[in-house]
Symmetry: C2
Subunit: 172 residues, 2 copies
DNA sequence: CGCCGGTATATAACGTCTCATATACTCCGG
DNA sequence: CCGGAGTATATGAGACGTTATATACCGGCG
């Protein structure tokens, strides 16, 4: 039940078409949400039917006519209520992480290889995330940097043939 | 398309019932996946129909008979292939983060309040995550600590009435 | 005895998400 | 003039996810 609210949030900054919204979502992962166009279009229609947004058709310089949506007072009210709800941590839902965790049963050489593969993704993403001065973007950069450091530490430990126990513990 | 694979992964350690699997998933968020029982039961049936797991009914000391599933050779093959697929970063999908980002338009006092609310969730979760020595758990602890530090830094900046620009930038 | 709490399985209804596919308009290069 | 790339909207199938609800078995408590 979040996508419609996220869309209201984006629209409350400026009127936009489905296409615009998709672009904004994909360009900034720090926003915390993304969705396919095939999900966005029906969501906008539901918002329209519910009276939370209004629609204005406009010719586009390139391509078929744009459908521009803007938030109505009722939509603004709905958004405000959603924003006021108490927070909760999201349910974990990350197939890559799940695989990384299961791969811990494999032999060190393979684990290092996969950790490096993951590290590569993180590094690319950090490059993409290096601009912007919102709190959400700062958060994302910090998390990516932390994860990068984690991947390096785990790789190094595997290569050194030791395990990463909480510091200061040595057993005979 | 991940839950069935995650379940195969768990079952490849030890045979288990749907209930057991749910408990294991909920107890360790570092595993990267969680799901409801109402999702797990049908998933197990699909795995059974597909021949990826086998079923043995067993009396339980308390409650109705347990249905214990174990991975078949075919299931093990399927799991191996899934684990070998290339990694990809997950699509952002976090309603709390999305709201936190939208709330940046609010006035500082409100933002500090919500940041503190979020900080509380993180602190609780970090307490829960403080045990375990797998790489995945170390990762989760590091991420929670980083996010906690981020929340504190953002709060402090808001309270001090300044903004957190990348260091060293001052404009006339 | 009746109820509660924990174990355990199950399904219906509904909403969300992914993936594939189709259409239409414009500009550009070959 | 044809095809490809970018803009823009749209739909359908099927899987996935959430919430609510139901059932059953056991032990302990009042």
């Amino acid at each position: 039940m979040s996508l419609p609210h996220v869309l209201l949030g984006l629209l409350s900054t400026a009127p936009a078409s489905g296409w615009d919204l998709k672009r904004r979502l994909s360009e900034d992962p720090a926003r915390g949400w993304d969705a396919d166009l095939s999900q966005i279009y029906p969501a906008l229609r539901r918002l329209l039917r519910g009276g939370f947004v209004s629609l204005k058709r406009r010719r586009s310089p390139q391509g078929p006519p744009r459908r521009e949506y803007r938030v109505t007072p009722s939509g603004r009210r709905e958004l405000k209520e959603w924003l006021a709800e108490p927070f909760a941590l999201p349910r974990p839902h990350d197939a890559t992480l799940a695989r990384l965790a299961l791969l811990e049963r494999n032999a060190p050489p393979d684990r290092v290889r996969r950790l490096q593969e993951y590290r590569g993704l993180l590094a690319d993403e950090l490059k993409r995330a290096s601009a912007g001065s919102t709190a959400a973007r700062r958060r994302r950069r910090l998390l990516l940097e932390t994860e990068l450091a984690w991947a390096d530490a785990e790789s190094a430990a595997l290569l050194a043939g030791r395990s990463l126990e909480p510091a200061g513990r040595t057993r005979p």
